[in-house]
Symmetry: D2
Subunit: 163 residues, 4 copies
Amino acid sequence: MFIRFITTGGTIDKIYFDDLSQYEVGESQVQQILHEGLAEFDYDVVPLLHKDSLEMTDEDRKLLHDYIADDDGDRYVITHGTDTMVETANVLMDVAGKTMVLTGALTPARFRTTDAVFNVGMAVATAQVAPPGVYIAMSGQVFPAGRVTKNRAENRFESTDRN
Amino acid sequence: MFIRFITTGGTIDKIYFDDLSQYEVGESQVQQILHEGLAEFDYDVVPLLHKDSLEMTDEDRKLLHDYIADDDGDRYVITHGTDTMVETANVLMDVAGKTMVLTGALTPARFRTTDAVFNVGMAVATAQVAPPGVYIAMSGQVFPAGRVTKNRAENRFESTDRN
Amino acid sequence: MFIRFITTGGTIDKIYFDDLSQYEVGESQVQQILHEGLAEFDYDVVPLLHKDSLEMTDEDRKLLHDYIADDDGDRYVITHGTDTMVETANVLMDVAGKTMVLTGALTPARFRTTDAVFNVGMAVATAQVAPPGVYIAMSGQVFPAGRVTKNRAENRFESTDRN
Amino acid sequence: MFIRFITTGGTIDKIYFDDLSQYEVGESQVQQILHEGLAEFDYDVVPLLHKDSLEMTDEDRKLLHDYIADDDGDRYVITHGTDTMVETANVLMDVAGKTMVLTGALTPARFRTTDAVFNVGMAVATAQVAPPGVYIAMSGQVFPAGRVTKNRAENRFESTDRN
């Protein structure tokens, strides 16, 4: 079982900048999370973009789309800023035969209290278990692309299905 | 979407006892993990047993089996000690029509560095996404019951499938 | 024994802002740290300023100076940004009869890995044990004001004493 | 400035044992704490004993006493179980000319929420700032030896001074 992680930026990998003594932590948070989760499967991490999701353009989404469409993998976890995660998920929906799971965090992974570890855990399981398609793993839930929205006022992801 | 969590003890909920000033932290670690994971779905937590998994008896397993078989839920996450998690998973395999995911931790959830958060994240996603059946979510992987073993020397779960 | 904590901003209390879903955590990090440190003494926390220390003006320093000079306390811990902590310490040196300890952090207290807890622990002990005067508690050391500098290239505080 | 750390066991360094897959974390928690506190001074760590403090004998205390009395250092931080920390402090009171600070933790340093980091921060500052003598740094306070007791019912250290 092999999962390819693609990082695109967003809150999960937020880097803190001090005014003078700026520093940047290089190590991918995804690797740190997998290490702490004692994950024992084959994976690699592709740092494709490094943007807040509000700054992500149509071209960025096409880059991600084409990267996955042309790649030889079957399972993808894509870390992404939360504000436009839904839009990016929609763009990926025409890639056939692959399980693609977008996740991220409402609080940076470097914080002491963060949803990042739980979310990556959800995404990793979904990439293994779910049939091909695009999913968003956030707010403790796995949503199919096209049926999910971010409720910004409540700062959570919600299903758009009628109950 | 509703998930019933059943806690049975094990390392994930390990309580630390000092010699004199013994204390016990009452709050379930599962609830703490869901809270930090910003999980927004309906759930409850049933504390069924509180045992190291090496001490778990056939009667204990029957209790768990019958509890789930007689219950009206569809999705279960069962936290369990790791040493006999595989045996308990096997006992649950004849319960039809329900998705049951066993998980736990190799390091207590109260530790600063722990696999518990990642594992519960995996289990929660699996309970939502996987077809009915019994699964073990450990070591970064989701294993179907009956095809997984704990490699004690390496302290990890492994598939018994031939590659 | 009573310690008055005065917060002025800086990295230790750094608040993270997301682009859209901005949030601010209100609770003072000092209180959180004292709570986790199981501190059992009387104190209060005065939020006097909320600035990066590079933006701190002479007027801000005079405000802090006069607040302490006019106050009826004996022991102070002042949390402060690191870049101009030395300058603020110098300004306080003419306040007589009080023990004043400046501390802060090179990494925000909300981070999982941070020097904030250790530093506040040092400052609290120094406020109790040291004779009246101004001190900086950083980099694992307690420096008297006037004999300490921040080495920005190395991101640490150092004594200016000749060895 | 040089501090010698002497570890004797106790809750701060508590090691967790699983039933089957027992593991022991070798690295001293003191070093981990100093590293995270970004401490920049010379020190070494002497692992003298490894006992719960209830099991500490008069001989153990004599060993510690003689080690320090015969050693060429000036400043000591001694990590120690909390239940008999007061007794050990009393035994050290006849060592002249050295600053000796006992500290420990009510919750293991490996826990996510622990007083260990704060306490070691206090002890390190006290070892630098306090005049020669024996101190206990616990419960957010620095107590002189001979004037402190552990209130076991309340799980905290208290001064025995009349107010």
